[in-house]
Amino acid sequence: MGKPETVVDKIWKKHVVHQEEGKPDLLYIDQHLVHEVTSPQAFEGLRLTNRKVRRPDLTFATMDHNVPTKNRHVVKDEISKKQMETLKQNCADFGIKLADMFHPDQGIVHVIGPQLGLTQPGKTIVCGDSHTSTHGAFGALAFGIGTSEVEHVLATQTIWQERPKSLNVKVIGDLGPGVTAKDLILAIIAKFGVRFGTGYVMEYTGDAIRNLSMEGRMTICNMSIEAGARAGLISPDQKTIDYLEGREYVPKGDAFEKAAEEWLALATDEGATYDHTVTIHADEIEPQVTWGTNPGMCVPVGGNTPIVADSDHKEDVKRALEYMGLEENQPITSIEIDHVFIGSCTNSRLGDLEKAAAIVKGRKVKDHIKAIVVPGSFSVKLQAEEAGLDKVFTEAGFEWRESGCSMCLGMNDDIVPAGGRCASTSNRNFEGRQGNGARTHLVSPEMAAAAAIEGRFVDVRNFAGVLS
């Protein structure tokens, strides 16, 4: 037996194409995911230099950021339309598979990768999108890149990467009833801050992580970037294998058995060491609500907004409260909302929708609230409809939409108006993220659903029927 290794050590050494003293390593990329917003300039670069896409077979494209979630065929914004047409043309010219707006495989890029089985343990995966960390849930090394790097990967199927430091985020104990993966990751970011992961790959370990569903693990890894880490990942286990079996791009039969064996062997070895380890007690975590303008500005639902004078970052806290239209020391449960968004690459999978539906079933959304559910993919939408979830939501007063990124970043028509306040299952509460002047509170799907019913934030654990 050699030295015990982490899952990252194992993936890294299998992908080094070239190594030189004092330089980053040249890593091979197994899967490149492409979408309409961060790719046009990359393809343009290839044309200008007369270069080809080296491995169209390892590249997969979809449209998600701009797509309308109602009246799919009407893209009112001419520039959005042009961006999507450009992707279509680029994929045709360079021989890349594309799931366009009307394709059954269409969806948010980080939802369809796992769903199609393009995401697999041990792969290196990149995409021109910071939430690429999502795919780490499968024990893949996955990170977001800029457009110049997109062009680089298209042309060379490789990327120069400095070996990141390793950070073990160990979550011991178990999450209580009504407390979700979203609450866990928000609590981690609130505790350690929005830059504690900078320069690291975060590996989530411990019983609480093992006990999460694959969907829960995706939610956790998705928000690694909000802690500053480009990548977050979880060692593969039997759950990972079970999730992937039978998916379109996953090997079949004997080849699957062989792959599964290799995948399980990627898990971090007993005794492997990390550059840094932090420990979190899952049983202490409560449902979370962000109050400010970055994901670390977050407290348990039973808490209050901070007191400026008591804060280490007075100016930041003051600015954030002002932008959010909140008082200091204000109870979270006194905050009234007017928008609810259930969706995004963080929380738009079938399990998320099922849990939110269980809360709203037989209840009504408060009169003045505009509430929308945006499934993460066309396939998630179909499965939800087969289970009757669309009816549960629409009968309660939610709008049931087509799949896309939607109100997470408001590049299409799904925007929160200035001064509007949204309970959102997405990942960023930055100023103006959901619309210029919009105020975003990040929560779990269950908490968003409960807020839609009550018109303000409530502890979902006290919500009738949740814990029974």
Binding site: Y28, P40, Q41, R54, T147, R230, A418, R428
Partner: protein, 194 residues
């Protein structure tokens, strides 16, 4: 990308931490398919009101700062979205150098690919310069070759930057062309996996 060996320019102080790329260039401007023309939308929601009129209280709109080319900012500059539109907007506006105590990883890389020098520096000196630049017009001289920054009062500090990044900035090298020099290794790697 254009080579850059040194730069002398007017400093703009942005005394905020965790400036995310949504602030640097809001989403409504990500729909263009070109790399150019993003400068006028830089920090859009801070620079302009709901009707598109410049906000005079945002100092970058003031005459004194209009020609600044060195940005001083707080910790974790460029966090959030991976959009390269952020450095495109900064460079199109005229910024060549960014000084901050820390940068978000993806932004740091994206800046380098566009000939912007992102320099991590310790907070004490940065805060002093932040104050100077807030009080009056303030010029810094950044010498990449010797890894030094000097002000006009004779204060000089040195900074760290990985040698390979420095080399690329100094020469304005095309990353892809450099990588393709290793094409035999990529081919060998692909062959070994089949």
């Amino acid at each position: 990308m254009e080579a850059i060996q040194e730069h002398k320019g007017l400093v703009y102080p942005l005394d905020r931490s965790n400036v995310d790329t949504d602030q640097i260039i809001p989403k409504q401007f990500l729909k263009r398919i070109e790399r150019t023309g993003f400068g006028e939308f830089l920090f859009y929601n801070w620079r302009f009101d709901d009707d598109g009129n410049p906000r005079e209280d945002f100092t970058l709109n003031q005459q004194a700062y209009k020609n600044s080319s060195i940005l001083l900012a707080g910790e974790n500059f460029g966090c959030g979205s991976s959009r390269e539109h952020a450095p495109w907007a900064l460079t199109d506006f005229g910024f060549k150098v960014i000084l901050a105590p820390s940068f978000a990883d993806i932004f740091y890389n994206n800046a380098l690919k566009n000939g912007i020098i992102p320099i991590k520096m310790e907070e004490e000196q940065l805060n002093e310069w932040m104050q100077e630049a807030t009080d009056s017009q303030f010029v810094l001289h950044v010498d990449l070759l010797n890894q030094q920054i000097s002000d006009e009062k004779g204060n000089v500090i040195t900074f760290d930057i990985p040698e390979y990044h420095k080399e690329k900035l100094l020469n304005g090298w095309d990353d892809i062309a450099l990588t393709l020099l290793q094409e035999d290794k990529i081919l060998a790697y692909e062959a070994s996996r089949n």
